[in-house]
Symmetry: C2
Subunit: 213 residues, 2 copies
């Protein structure tokens, strides 16, 4: 598929302090909302791969890039996943065009010789440290989850991230063999308008959220 | 300050599957690199506030937005922070135009009545659950750390995130009174060219990092 029809012209006058136009700032952050309902339009694997190929470049500690994606499409897989979601999130999983389980790969160290050749010895050192590995994997995959949500929006898609789930149940059902640990479930699709009827919630100001020393 | 000179024209032909132009994709992810050295150009508080005001809109669970920023500028504060960094990261903190300590606010629940009024009762419920609060704060602030790194780049800034530090030492030195927990230290500034001489490291392919069910 092509998204040429939605290409931004980038000519909006940018807000002071930003290097991207207002249209890009709106698409990625300011106007983007957590989607409550999607149009029936499909999301192709090619589009998800384009999002991944964009956000894979985001930095992680030692270039460990431990984020993994379970792409849930089939009716059977949807029902299995929905059973592990909090009640209010079940229909969302059953109805979304596609749902991603964002997970941290506790076996990420096997890729260190490829991803960070100068740290190759670390792969062996981490082999016997499963708790350290899980902590590293979760921390860096969560940072990558932030990149991914921005990347979905950069592809013109809307994201509906949800944390209300039985993460251990998902892990036992889907990841018993590969050691992935589920972090977040994200419904993905297209929206009409804002994709939600909820009013925009408040945010803390920069003055409230920062300290200078 | 204004960054008009670096405004992207957005007219590059976008890569298939994306809704933003190649120039934006390059700025935010594909060409952006973890900075090893910065130019002497300053980073103003106004510019940091513009970045915050962009990324504050990114989604978090229950709109808790627990990410906090310690903005480190003064020589004394730089030296205090550098003392808690791993040896290889000390000079980077001493030499960066500005350094941010990204932290999770374990007292985020005090803001729930403002940020998520329909969940106001949760503020009281969380008061007696410090471990649950810290887990929620860390998870959501890490996702926000991903937004922030993208946001710095959207402002034309380069980021040098570092995890090699004594986080508990930073917390004891800077956050003894406010309950913030340091997650990541990020040097921020302007770069010439790529801002690093390290070759671009490999990434896993979409096929390697995903499973479909």
């Amino acid at each position: 598929m092509t998204t040429d029809a939605t290409v931004l012209d980038g000519l909006d006058f940018p807000t002071s302090g930003l290097a991207v136009g207002d249209d890009v700032a709106d698409l990625l952050f300011r106007e983007a909302r957590t989607a409550a309902a999607f149009t029936p339009d499909e999301v192709s694997d090619e589009q998800l791969a384009a999002v991944y190929d964009l956000v894979k470049w985001g930095p992680t500690a030692l270039n460990t890039v431990p984020l993994r994606l379970l792409v849930v499409r089939t009716p059977d897989a949807r029902r299995r996943l929905a059973a592990h979601m909090n009640e209010g999130n079940r229909d969302r999983v059953l109805e979304a065009p596609v749902t991603l389980v964002l997970a941290a790969d506790t076996g990420f160290h096997a890729h260190i010789p490829t991803l960070a050749p100068h740290m190759a010895a670390l792969a062996d050192a981490l082999e016997g440290q499963p708790e350290q590995r899980e902590s590293m994997a979760r921390m860096n995959a969560l940072i990558q989850a932030g990149y991914l949500i921005v990347g979905l929006r950069a592809a013109g898609l809307a994201a509906g991230p949800m944390g209300g789930m039985d993460a251990q149940g998902i892990d036992a059902d889907f990841f018993a063999e590969n050691g992935w640990k589920s972090l977040l479930v994200v419904n993905v699709g297209h929206v009409e308008g804002a994709g939600t009827h909820y009013p925009r919630a408040e945010r803390l100001s920069y003055a409230q959220a920062s300290l200078s020393v």
